[in-house]
Each structure stands twice: as structure tokens, then as C-alpha cells.
Amino acid sequence: MHTAAQPLKKDKVVTQQRALQDPTWVRWSLIAIAISFISLFICVPLGLVIFQAFSKGLQAYWSALTNADTLSAIRLTLLVAIITVPLNTLFGVISAWAITRFEFKGKSFLTTLIDIPFSVSPVISGFIFVLLFGAEGWFGSWLVEHDIKIIFAAPGIILATLFITFPFVARQLIPLMQEMGNQEEEAALSLGAGGWKMFFSVTLPNIKWALLYGVLLCNARAMGEFGAVSVVSGHIRGMTNTLPLHVEVSYNDYDVVSAFASASILAALAIVTLVLKTALEWKQANR
């Protein structure tokens, strides 16, 4: 019976393959559509960004990048990323831990809450902070009295970015940690390891690729966020403009070279993110 089943199985595979073989013209036209769509909507715009950035020569590109406003925008963008990414990494790990390792009431509600920054329009997220900390907001008068500026200043931008980028790390970790279960951690404890030792020598090595992946996505968004930041920043040149905002402001001023030079940095960031992301995905799959 066993030997009879073998060729039968083979036949099945062959017919399945045949069923998936569409006529040649269908295959090629589908491939052509996919390629032309990708070139038209991704490659052409990306090429245009670089072309426009260098349209007035290398000199103009360089001076647009090293101009005080652009440099300040780069600095602010980096500052925002340096503060928000570690904080959200920490929050992400903590909430993933709480959700996958403890049983408590309202757990599924918390899981849903984590997704809110993804489901709410970024503009709304920005407005929440204006409503809270703006001059007319709940804490507005108190902040004015104590001379603390949040809205139209770096703290507001950081808060808005924190809110927007919160889900990335947690969302990467929760499914992985759920799937792994906690037996390895229990084993570590039974062998005498303390809580921290267990986390750093057992949990962290198991989640590190997913964690890095989440951090990477979180960083890309923190640097690239436009909507929420736009609402709370006030677009003060050289003060509260992040790179994406700087692109918009420059473009509105018909300063095409400056706009596209800044955009080329963001585009480069996107490409680096993409390459790292692919590498991490490969690492995770070949763990």
C-alpha cells in the first residue's frame, strides 16, 4: 500500500503545478503590469527626488543641505528619534511582557488600545496634544504660568512622535512571545536564575531579531512622521521644523533644491531601512 501511494502523490503534485500554470501571455502581462506599476509609482518618483535635488549642481545640493535651517531640522529629527525610539522600545517590551506573561482583567482591551495610534489619523493624534497642552487646552494655563512650552516646541513634537510610534515594538513582540510560550523562562527560573538574569540570558536572545525589526520600523516612522508633528510643531524655521516639515516649508517657498535635498535624506533613510528590514526578516526566518 505504501509503495502504491508514492507515485500517486507525485501525480498529484504534477497536476497541481499544471493547474497553476497559466497561459504564457497571462503570465507575462501580469508580470509587466506589476513591473510598470512599481516603476511608475516608486522608481520614477524616487529618481525624480534625486534628479531635482541635483538639478542645480552638486554645489547647490551641498549648500542646501548645510544651510542653517536644514541642519537644525536634521538635528531636531535626530533628537526626536534618539528620545522616542529608546522609550518606545522600553514601553513596547514592557507591554508585550505584561500581555503575554500575565493574566489580568482588561487584557484584551489593552491589546486593542495598543493599536489606536495605527487606527487614528495622525492629524487627530496631533490635535489631542494641542487640546491637552495648547494655550486653550486643559493644562494650558498652568503651563503658561510656569513658563513651560510644550506645543510649538520640541517637547510637543516628541510627545506626538511617542504616541504615533508606540505600537511598532509591541506589535512585533506580542505574537512572537505568545508563540514561544514561557517554558524556557520557567526553566531558567527553576535552574536558579533571577528575573533579570532570565530576561537577559533567555528572553532577550529569543526576541532580539523581532525587537530590532520593531525598533527599525519605529525609528523610520519617528524620523518620517508628518501629520501629528505638523499639528504640534508650528513650523518655526530653524526651531521646530523636523525634516519632513522642512521639506514642505521649503517646497512651499519654491526652494526646490532645498526641498528635494532634504527629501533625498529621507529617501536614503527609507532605502537603508528597507535593506536592514530585509536583512532582519531573513535573519528571523533563518534563526
Binding site: Q183, E184, E186, A187, A188, L189, S190, L191, G192, A193, G194, K197, S201, V202, P205, N206
Partner: protein
Amino acid sequence: MSILLSDISKNFGNFAALNHINLEVPEGELVALLGPSGCGKTTLLRIIAGLEHTDKGRVIINGQDKTDQTVSQRGIGFVFQHYALFRHMTVFENVAFGLRVKPRRDRPSNDFITKKVHSLLDLVQLDWLHNRYPDQLSGGQRQRIALARALAVEPSVLLLDEPFGALDASVRKDLRQWLRNLHHELHVTSIFVTHDQEEAMEVASQVVVLNHGQIEQQGSPTDIYDHPANAFVSKFIGQTNIFDLDEHDNDWLQTAGLLQPSQQGKIAHVRPHDIIIEKTDNHHTAPATLKDWQHLGALIRIELVKNESNGSDAPVFAEMPNEQFKQLELAKGDKVKLKVRQAHWFH
């Protein structure tokens, strides 16, 4: 080291997982916690380990009250059903883990750790795998590594949660024997959880039968098999034929030579090997028809139907050695005579 559990209770919501458990495990024993799934055996094991908290009761290991200690303080070895090896560490590092995480003042030197790990890997006969990662090992190898890892910290007690549950039948058979031998060598007080009565009887020196969060019986495998304390234990340990006198099996049983002893209940449990099949009409034999039979290796299991009985029409199972069955030269549909040698009576 001995283990003493006094009045352990545990509830999950409204579900009482464990109900006033009292248990004493003497030093050096290899004890099986046996019961159907959901009977609370794994919960009890996890409570001894400190992986689960009790609602009530004390856990005393070697005279010390460990109830309020965490799992890392208790000095137990725990072996998980699905091995729980650290997947990013080599076999060597897995076994060394317990020694490496000791506080600095108790931590042995690297040389000592190397020597100890290799000797443990020798003990489980897998030293040649020390550079491999867990996902490069078979299930049986993983479980032996998990055992070596648990033994590395020289635990006062060894706790095993369904240690062979995830393995193939043939590997399981080998590992049972191997665990028994290992225990003879090390004499560390061990408790293992299983739902497989055959495994419990084969490996353990003491068997504790649990059901619905309560201990039904504790004793040696022989005790439990020969003198089951109640109907549940009798049914759970091995095959048994059940005759209910209230369902008019009375007459049939009396014909088969079994008189109801006074005051011992109205339900008779008869082991298949206590039913004797004869071809000739003898004194105290009851009529039956051979319906079917199965080959169990050395034994033959025979399915019979009671004739001339106004009782239940449940089949009767008998077992006899292969040779004896051949000598009887029976065929399906043959009329035979049955004799019941002995029974356990329950209410």
C-alpha cells in the same frame, strides 16, 4: 530528600484544581502522579516546584517549609514535557546554565563547570552532541539533555512533567527503562506526572492516583493493581470487566462461580486474566459465545458475549497467553464456558 505536602488546595476561578491534598514522598523514591487529564496532577507538580502558588497548604521539602520561596530559591530540578531547552544555546551551554547563573560567591570555576557538564552529558550518553543546538536533536535526545540540565544544579528533588508525553512510542519505551536505571544510580527523590498507567506501573516505585483534584490511592504498583481502593482506581489501572448486580448480572456471576461477599458492594470488577475460558461444561461455569479476539503480543484478548443472562449485554473481555489460546482451538462463534476467579467489589 523527602517531600511533604500538607492540605494543598488550589482554585482556578470557580474550578477546584486541587482539593486538600496530603502527600508524603519518602527520600529516594521515584513517584508517579497518575490521573486522567484535568485531574490536577500537573498543577500539583508545579506547586511543588514553585511555578504555581497554592491557595492553601504548605510545601515542605526535606523538613524545610518552601511554600513562600520562589522557584529559583527552591533548588529543584524541573523537566518539561516539551523540553524547554534554550534554543539559542548549544547543548553544552544549556547544561551549564544552572551553574553559570549561581551568585558569584557560589559559582564554580570554568574548569569545574566544563568537567561537570561533560560528566553529565556522559551520564545521559550524549556528550558527542555538546556543540549542537536543540533544534538539531531528536525528541528523545532533547529530553535527555533537559534532564542533564536539571541535574546540573544537584537538585534536592527532581520533578518531571509528562517527560515522555511528546515522544514516539518506541523512544518512550527506551527512555522509561533508562530513567528507571538512572534513578537507581542517583537516588534523587523524583516525582513524575503521567496519564499513562502503563508508564506509571513500569517506572515508578510508588504510584499516586489522582482524580478531580483529590488523591484516590497511593501505593506501590503491585498494591494499586492488586488492591485498588475504589472503582475509579480499578477502572483506571488496567482493563477491567464491570458487573453490576443491580442490573441482574447476579445470576450469571453466581453461575460463573463468584458469590457476592457480604457488605462489600454490588459492583464487581474482574480483571480480564481472572476470567477463565473452558470448552467443557464444568461445575460453576457460565455460558458465553466467543465474538472476536485480538493479538496483543504475548497475550490474546478475547471478546465474549454472555448467554442465558438477563443482565447487561456488555461484552466480557478475557485475556490468556498466546500458547494457551492455541491449545483451546477456538473459533469465532464457538460456545464456551466461563469461570470467574476473583473480583474486587465496590459500591
